[in-house]
Symmetry: C2
Subunit: 353 residues, 2 copies
């Protein structure tokens, strides 16, 4: 039996407000606890997007009523809200900038729109970017010019990890996270796990090549955090003509990483570093007192969506054999998850900001 600190997932899509048929603060935070995650940071691209005081209030009210685990809520950067976002910063997980997507209030396709956010968001609070490839390099340049830290979400490419390595060696204030799908799947795996439904392989960033995956594993020391980028959609949506990108992940991340420990690709200390120590430092999160996770390291089983807390009802890791099971989660002195059962009411989770 292994005892580790409560894990922190800095990248979770809750889907509430706006798409609670996929997931909500209840099911997402229950799933997090089942995965050994006692604190999560929620992304702002909900419907409506979280980008001002009233939308932040909307998300926080739902979270307060329903969350089982602790949490904080990101604000999204838009073309006109740099001032407002900076004012709301003390109440937010951080600022999330979508630099490669183009939707609604969070659309930032012109780099001229980035400047006020890099300038104004408090330098001691987290600024996180969805930025792939050259956009990622551009984001690091902005961080250098405006002399503030930046955290790169879900890196997936060899060129990304190598450039972050070089940027860190040069002393630039950049940190990054990687998701389990970019460590444990390649684009060549899509046919086998998608069961003839290619939409199940859609995720952003896309699954990489074997060369990309190998480069991430070869540069684990460059990677600060493991994050799930839990992005639930229903199977009906994934199998539709316009499948939305995203995989669920909050319940499977730890089991996949523990399996890699058995395969001697990773150590328990690295899991703790990248899922507790580093995210706590990077995102300036408080200690959770009397909080830990117990793991049966020897438990071998298959991943099945039917066993999960998430509402979305599928996983790209369906049927994969893993070794290492969360048996008990204690959050602030209370047994919140034990032997596969959620033991805590909605509303127990606290806003850590």
């Amino acid at each position: 039996m292994l005892k580790i600190p409560g894990l922190i997932d800095p990248h979770v899509h809750i889907r509430e407000p706006g798409a609670t048929h996929k997931e909500d603060w209840d099911t997402a935070t229950a799933a997090a606890l089942a995965g050994g995650i006692t604190m999560l940071l929620a992304m702002p691209n909900t419907n409506p997007a979280i980008f001002d005081a009233s939308t932040l209030e909307l998300a926080l009210a739902a979270a307060k009523a329903k969350a089982h685990c602790d949490y904080a809520q990101f604000i999204g950067a838009g073309p006109g809200n740099a001032e407002v976002a900076a004012q709301l910063a003390p109440r937010a997980a951080g600022l999330k900038m979508y630099l490669d997507s183009t939707f609604g209030e969070l659309r930032l396709d012109d780099m001229s729109l980035w400047k006020p956010h890099f300038e104004k968001y408090p330098k001691n609070l987290p600024l996180v970017v969805h930025s792939e490839s050259r956009s990622m390099a551009a984001a690091i340049l902005f961080a250098a010019i405006y002399d503030r830290p930046v955290h790169i979400a879900h890196i997936s490419l060899k060129e990304e990890v190598l450039l972050i390595k070089a940027a860190k060696e040069h002393g630039l204030k950049v940190t990054c996270e990687v998701c389990p799908q970019h460590l444990f799947l390649t684009k060549d795996d899509i046919p086998s796990f998608s069961g003839g439904h290619p939409g199940r392989g859609e995720v952003r960033p896309r699954l990489g090549s074997k060369e990309d995956v190998d480069a991430l594993w070869a540069n684990l020391d460059v990677i600060d955090c493991f994050a799930s980028d839990h992005a639930p959609h229903t199977l009906e949506e994934k199998d539709s003509d316009e499948p939305p990108p995203g995989f669920p992940g909050v319940e499977t991340t730890l089991a996949l990483l523990l399996t890699a420990v058995h395969e001697a690709r990773l150590t328990i200390d690295q899991i703790i570093e990248k899922m507790h120590t580093n995210p706590k430092r990077i995102f300036r999160l408080p200690e959770q007192p009397e909080t830990w996770v117990e793991v049966d390291e020897q438990a071998t089983y298959e991943i099945h969506a039917v066993d999960m807390q998430s509402r979305c009802g599928w996983t790209p890791f369906e049927g994969r054999q893993v070794k290492g099971r969360v048996t008990r989660v204690v959050l602030r002195g209370k047994d919140v998850f034990k032997d596969g059962k959620l033991l805590v009411e909605k509303g127990f989770g606290r806003n850590v900001r």
Copy 2:
């Protein structure tokens, strides 16, 4: 009568070797002199591309035999020639990296391929990038990380000039050039100058919006050089189903800029700074002794391709009224162009490296 120094165009596509039906070292350098340009730097994306000792020799042999004005030849960066390019650096105008195009030997679509060039090319010799928008930001980041200067070719966007301004203010070693088409045309002008042949509007970078053009004019102090990006194609090619991008420019750049001086948008000193002083410094070019250009500032006339030295036979500025005509060009003590006539033989031009 105005007397100005011999002008330097750091961005010219000669088309030789490989496409001499569009232009060659004879016609391109004759056209340069007609435009008041006494020294030009030739781009390496010829056929074959100039990327090693034997292809450099090929270009330099053609130049030596045919050039009317002084010149140097760029080497192109490819996935495997960083070592060779660095060795050849003393004989080359500089290193040209195509970061937004993907063709043949000069294809660099993965940022991992950029690193050896930024590391190895001599820091005191020019490294020029074709890099638009976020790729441009990425190139500036590479220059920062590998602590060397970088010159950004043909900027065209508001976001580009504003980011270069911020990068310069932060102390990063970045310089840039802008082309006449991005100062004097917008994308909305294409229907009127293309005469129903949209291929004549194809150029890379594309023509910008009025907002982009206005931002370039509003930030002239950020712009180090004016460069033509002379990129001749025949009208038959431009009007084909797959029109190649590019405008001729070496003969019209100065006249357009002199016209802007009459309109009080620019000064003669800025022209000399950005077409002589700055390129000489940035590209480490030698002084051309006894070399100058005489201009009739009051001469008003229409631009017509039929009057030009270039082989390509068209211009996007056809019919435009300009004010300011090159009447005499003296290169190293010799009258090389006077009253519309080329007075110098092929082979007079010298390799300045």
